[in-house]
């Protein structure tokens, strides 16, 4: 079975690593250790796709955080099947960097599904509906408020994205 490459991008410290570790290992740590370069995680999961449960294999690329997409982020994004763009709900200007990252994905990986994770929902409220609607309109993306700490909505975000990755391909046939 071929693995699917999924990149996880966003500003530093927004919780990319935490989200992945919650999904893959079901753990969380309050300590912050910045990711340098890229870290890879593999995860096998069973995901409902078009009504049937399917075994899938993901290789998650946890890419060093940056406020704007730079060369490194772009290089490691190559060939990805899908992307999760993470933002930190506690930060005031969280949406703009997420948009930039999503724009980069659209330009470099046209047609690949994008999932937005508004993270740290355990300590901050969800953004305005209008903001969410604007992102949804623009990118047709999956949008979820997550908490890597409580695990809230985390596996479902990855699973929904996977369903889109695989369902999208199947839909073309």
């Amino acid at each position: 079975m071929k693995a699917h490459k999924v990149i996880v991008i966003g500003d530093f410290g927004v919780g990319k690593t935490s989200l992945i570790r919650r999904y893959v290992l079901d753990v969380f740590s309050d300590q912050y250790r910045a990711t340098l370069g890229v870290h890879l995680y593999k995860h096998s999961d069973i995901v409902p796709i078009d009504g049937t449960e399917q075994q899938v294999k993901l290789v998650l690329w946890d890419i060093e955080g940056a406020p704007l997409p730079g060369e490194q982020m772009m290089r490691y994004s190559l060939g990805a099947s899908g992307a999760i763009v993470v933002g930190d709900l506690t930060r005031p200007d969280m949406i703009e960097p997420m948009r930039r990252a999503a724009d980069m994905i659209e330009a470099r990986l046209p047609g690949r599904p994008i999932g937005f994770a508004f993270n740290k929902h355990d300590i901050a409220p969800a953004p305005d509906d209008s903001n969410i609607a604007a992102l949804k309109d623009r990118y047709g993306a999956l949008i979820t408020c997550t908490s890597a700490k409580t695990g809230d909505a985390v596996p479902n975000l990855f699973r929904d994205l996977t369903a889109r990755i695989i369902g999208g391909k199947g839909g073309a046939v």
């Binding site: 693995a3 995680y41 290789v59 060939g79």
Partner: protein, 530 residues
């Protein structure tokens, strides 16, 4: 002497006296007259005053009489005023009453006004709410515009980035031409970066006394790292810092190998290579044994999609089953990330590729095309010629992958024969068949995955067509071979005379040993006519 009296003179004097008397007399008469007239005048004025006095007196009397009349008049006026006042008072009272009535009516008017104001307020609130909703809609439209603008900006930025990249490339090229001395790269700084990484790399490499070892091989490593860095720019050196560990690990492995080399000189590696080569070129080759105690083995062969790092195919050597090997999907991703980093850091594709690096105690040999990477993970200390030979082997494989189709049918067929993996297995010895199998499988899989190239695909289609054409039985029957896209199987569709002909066709197609899935969509005349 006494003057004599002059009688004339005396006379003259008397005359004068007389004249003076006469004059005086005249003067006193005038005076008198004057006095008399004055007295007369005084008397006259006295009379006048008297007359005036009398007149005044009578006037005063007259006045005193008229005073009484005036008083009466005043009294009358007073009365009149009093009357007027009371009149006015009454009017005022009336006015006040009117005002009271007016104020009452005003109060009630104010009351009703207040009610209307409240109603207005309520409407205002409703309007405000409406406006807020509208404002929200506006914000949405605004956000859309904004995101559109952002998209455009990002595009522009992308173009700029590209331009910058190109510039960087040009600069790199120019820099390379002018061979800079490493001394320019602040040797002191390099040393401080490299030393700790070196020590830990040595420790990881299992050296008991890393410091001593470092002294022995440090010059060698520094040279290796420096030459690597020499090819890149100052900025890239900065970018490499976090990854220097990898570079150093590579260099350490190399150095440790160099030191241990003499020991293994006797390893008959070329036989191994010859055998593999034989397989690749289709020439017959027997199984070949590794002597006991030799640790150099190819543990795993992997074919990786260069950009995504997705593992396309892999083969693990049987000799590696006891080891806890790293996860191959992760390994593949890591190799792609590392290669991506290296080729960017060290220049354009090809020239900048990593060809070899160490991973835990293994060495990974790496060769690539623009879209794929082939990696061999090997363990143990490689004998001196190994790198060159592996190179040779992998380059042959790559050449074939790039479309030199000579003898491919045979080759794949050959590798697909189950006995390849078992060659010599009966002897119970450690057999390199596992290694060979790994290499062979990768080569076979390369064929499968390079199928995206049209030339290769059409070769297979024509091969199948040829197989059909060569079948005398099928000559007149309508059969077509086609393929929709890279992900779909080759489709053979049409009509054949009977089941026997179909079986023959299937055999022929199987014989062609296509790396693609083949789907048959064939009707039998015998069935159609039924």
């Amino acid at each position: 002497m006494r003057q004599p009296i002059n009688p004339n003179f005396e006379r003259m004097r008397l005359e004068a006296e007389r004249q003076r008397l006469a004059e005086l007399e005249e003067r006193s008469g005038t005076l008198r007259e004057m006095l008399e007239s004055q007295v007369e005048a005084a008397r006259k004025s006295n009379d006048a005053l008297k007359a005036e006095n009398a007149a005044l007196k009578s006037a005063l009397e007259a006045q005193a009489n008229s005073g009484g009349a005036k008083a009466a008049e005043l009294e009358a006026r007073c009365e009149a005023l009093a009357a007027e006042l009371s009149e006015r008072l009454a009017a005022e009272r009336q006015h006040q009453a009117e005002l009271k009535a007016l104020s009452a009516s005003l109060r009630s008017q104010a009351e009703s006004e207040r009610t209307t104001a409240a109603a207005f307020e309520a409407r205002c609130e409703a309007l405000n709410a409406e406006l807020a909703v509208q404002a929200e809609n506006d914000a949405e439209a605004h956000a859309k515009l904004e995101s559109l603008r952002n998209a455009l900006t990002a595009e522009a930025e992308g173009a700029q980035n590209k331009a910058a990249l190109l510039e960087l490339e040009i600069k790199q090229l120019t820099d390379r031409i002018t061979e800079v001395d490493i001394a320019a790269y602040e040797p002191e700084r390099l040393r401080t970066i490299i030393t700790p990484a070196l020590t830990s790399a040595l420790r990881e490499a299992g050296q008991e006394s890393p410091d001593e070892m470092a002294n022995v091989i440090a010059p060698h490593i520094l040279k290796t790292v420096k030459t690597e860095i020499l090819n890149s720019e100052q900025e890239l050196v900065e970018a490499i810092h976090p990854r220097l560990g990898v570079l150093i690990k590579m260099a350490v492995t190399k150095a440790v190998e160099d030191l241990n080399r003499k020991v293994d000189n006797a390893l008959p590696v070329d036989r191994w290579i010859a055998a593999a080569k034989g397989r690749i070129t289709g020439a017959p080759a027997a199984g070949w044994l590794l002597e006991d105690g030799n640790t150099f083995i190819v543990k795993e062969a992997m074919l990786i999609e260069r950009q995504s790092g997705v593992l396309l195919a892999s083969e693990r050597s049987e000799m590696d089953v006891n080891n806890a090997s790293p996860d191959e999907d992760l390994m593949a991703g890591m190799i792609a990330a590392l290669q991506g980093f290296a080729s960017e850091a060290y220049g354009a594709t090809g020239a900048g590729d990593l060809r070899r690096f160490s991973f835990t105690e293994d060495t990974v040999y790496l060769r690539g095309t623009p879209t794929k990477l082939l990696a061999l993970r090997c363990s143990g200390v490689a004998p001196p010629e190994v790198e060159a030979r592996v190179d040779e082997l992998l380059e042959i494989a790559m050449e074939r992958m790039n479309g030199d189709g000579h003898g491919d049918v045979l080759m794949i067929d050959d590798f697909n024969k189950p006995d390849v993996a078992e060659t010599g297995g009966a002897s119970g010895s450690k057999i390199v068949a596992g290694v060979l199998g790994a290499v062979a499988a990768v080569i076979a899989l390369i064929w499968g995955h390079s199928a995206v190239t049209n030339a290769h695909e059409s070769r297979w289609i024509s091969k199948i067509e040829q197989a059909i054409a060569e079948d005398d039985q099928l000559g007149p029957y309508p059969l077509s071979v086609s393929r929709e896209d890279n992900d779909s199987p080759i489709l053979v569709s049409g009509l054949v005379p009977n089941a026997a002909a179909l079986k023959a066709l299937e055999d022929r197609i199987n014989w062609s040993a296509s790396p693609f899935d083949i789907e048959l969509n064939i009707a039998l005349v015998s069935e159609v006519n039924r």
